[in-house]
């Protein structure tokens, strides 16, 4: 008992909830002791036969042991063969002590139960095959699984002995027909032996499914790139106008970005920024002038903000068509009380006193749109320096 306490203190046992079957006690103990959790579980089952001692012990440890703080901690290096035998003797010794003090349900039950438990554990122990799967490509076929075959045989023998003893015990007590019993025992044995293999098969199927999904995603990606990016690249190779090339590239870039970073197709117009961007995209495509949109904040679209987007669109068209600027800047700022929007170009500008008739019309319509919804529009321009349209909407 004392040695157990010191071991515990030194090893810092936690419940390993990641690998758990019940509370993670066996998984945590196994990890700390450097043995496969299945054997620890077998030990608990075996002790459980002693009037539920294993169960009491398990629940006690469940209550005492803390949950692992960080499940990512490196696994404790395994113990060597000698130490493993030591552990086995400690366990057997403990059982003998229990037997000695008379706390013992009977030899047949204990030997049979323990044999079944540990036999099963040996068969279910996937540690070797797990480790080997990673190395499988480097291994020769014959090399593979020799040791696990050995373990299977040992496990199977233990299982048979245990089940045989068990059957004998029950037969003696209940007088159940030997044939029925033998059939039951055989069926149980076969299930238990094939169990690990079936689990492995299911796992392989799951992996295959994941791989198929991944392939479907790749196919979708390829299809998308083909429909969009490759088409645009082909188009660009046939275009002489450098401005047109830039526009094509920018439009494609936007589209690809949206596809990569946004989930599902963008719902146009649901939000102010999205609506503004799509208006800018349209101007950019129609007039081959880059329109740079910078937005701070966002809000939902209503009649007023929709009018604002419309007015901004006209301002952008105006700038793209008449200013001769290399690009148009749009800056939106959504505050708690007001929404401000500037459409700026660094083009040739104009003298506000001498506006050509068509431009006055556009300016007037921008102002009218805004004022209908309680907003304002201000057009300022300096010849040779550029034009700026400032739209403002106060929240009513």
């Amino acid at each position: 008992m004392e040695s157990a306490t010191t071991t515990k203190a030194r090893l810092e046992i936690h419940r390993d909830v990641k690998q758990r079957v019940l509370g993670g006690v066996a998984a945590g103990l196994g990890r700390s002791l450097g043995i496969e959790p299945v054997y620890v579980r077998a030990g608990f089952v075996s002790l459980g036969l002693v009037y539920g001692l294993g169960l009491v012990l398990y629940l006690g440890l469940w209550a005492i042991l803390p949950e692992e703080p960080s499940p990512e901690t490196a696994p404790v290096p395994g113990i060597d063969r000698r130490q493993r035998f030591g552990l086995l003797f400690v366990f057997a010794g403990a059982l003998l002590v229990l037997r000695g003090i008379g706390f013992w349900p009977g030899d047949v039950v204990m030997v049979a139960g323990s044999a079944v438990a540990f036999g099963l554990a040996a068969m279910w122990d996937r540690s070797e095959s797990n480790r080997r799967r990673d190395e499988a490509r480097l291994l020769l076929p014959g090399d593979r699984g020799e040791r696990s075959v050995g373990r299977l045989i040992v496990g199977g023998l233990l299982l048979l002995v245990g089940l045989g003893l068990f059957a004998g015990g029950i037969d003696a007590i209940s007088g159940l027909g030997t044939v029925v019993l033998a059939a039951l025992v055989t069926a149980a044995g076969v299930t238990l032996v094939l169990g690990p293999w079936l689990v492995g098969l299911a796992r392989d199927l799951g992996r295959e499914r994941t791989e198929r999904i991944r392939q479907e995603e790749r196919a979708e990606l390829a299809a998308h790139l083909h429909d969009s990016v490759l088409q645009t690249l082909a188009l660009m190779q046939r275009t002489d106008d450098p401005r047109r090339v830039v526009t094509l590239a920018r439009a494609q870039e936007r589209e690809l970005r949206r596809w990569l970073y946004e989930k599902g197709p963008a719902v146009e117009g649901a939000r102010l920024v999205a609506a503004l961007r799509s208006a800018a995209d349209r101007v950019e495509t129609d007039f081959d002038v880059p329109v740079e949109v910078v937005a701070v904040g966002d809000r939902s679209l209503d009649d007023a903000t929709r009018a604002m987007v419309g007015a901004a669109g006209e301002a952008m068209i105006n700038a793209a068509r008449h200013s001769g600027a290399e690009s148009v800047s749009v800056y939106l700022e959504v505050g708690d009380e007001v929404v401000d929007l500037w459409v700026t170009d660094q083009g040739k500008g104009f003298d506000p006193g001498a506006i050509p008739r068509d431009r006055r019309g556009i300016a007037a319509s921008i102002v009218a749109r805004m004022s209908r919804h309680g907003g304002t529009a201000e057009v300022s321009s300096v010849p040779g320096e550029g034009t700026e349209v400032h739209l403002r909407l106060e929240r009513g």
């Binding site: 920018r250 740079e292 910078v294 937005a295 904040g297 800047s329 800056y331 500037w342």
Partner: protein, 207 residues
Amino acid sequence: MIKLFLVDDHELFLAGVRSELGEHFEIVGSSGDVDDAVNAIRATQPGVVLIDVHMPGGGGIAVVRNLADTEVRFLALSVSDEPEDVIAMIRAGARGYVTKSIAPADLVEAIRQVNEGDAVFSPRLAGFVLDAFAGSVPASDPDLDQLTPREREVLRLIARGFAYKQVARRLEISVKTVESHVSAVLRKLQLSSRHELARWATDRRIV
């Protein structure tokens, strides 16, 4: 002539930038790998490093962090417009952030500014910063966690597409003053412990 080093893992893009900038700067080297770049930059001592954000082996951020002890100035250049990339790069120590769609003349100007120790804010970066510092949340360190009204004004004008010179004229201050405002904002961006900065960046990922 300013010594320039290029870090980018896209050969095609490197070649393009080389031919664009070759006549304006002395290009002392280029690299597409984090460790290699760190060593080469230490060896060649460039004035400015033009650095890509996304690279195998930890990305441009790893390079900037590894060279934090040097005098080298970084200008981040990336196809990514993702706010968290922008903010992460600036917080790692870059003096500015421009996207790969920047016009060649503007890129030349940006490199000059970074070489002189100024911060380079593209309109988009200015927008990100205004967004990140939006709202009057109680700040643990008001000097670092909030922008002054003047800094906001400067950033707003940059976001509207004006160059530093135009910003200066509009606010009737000198270009030097504009530069010092922008440098102060950069410092805040790098040093502020404002939770919003981190949370804001992660929020935007879902957009």
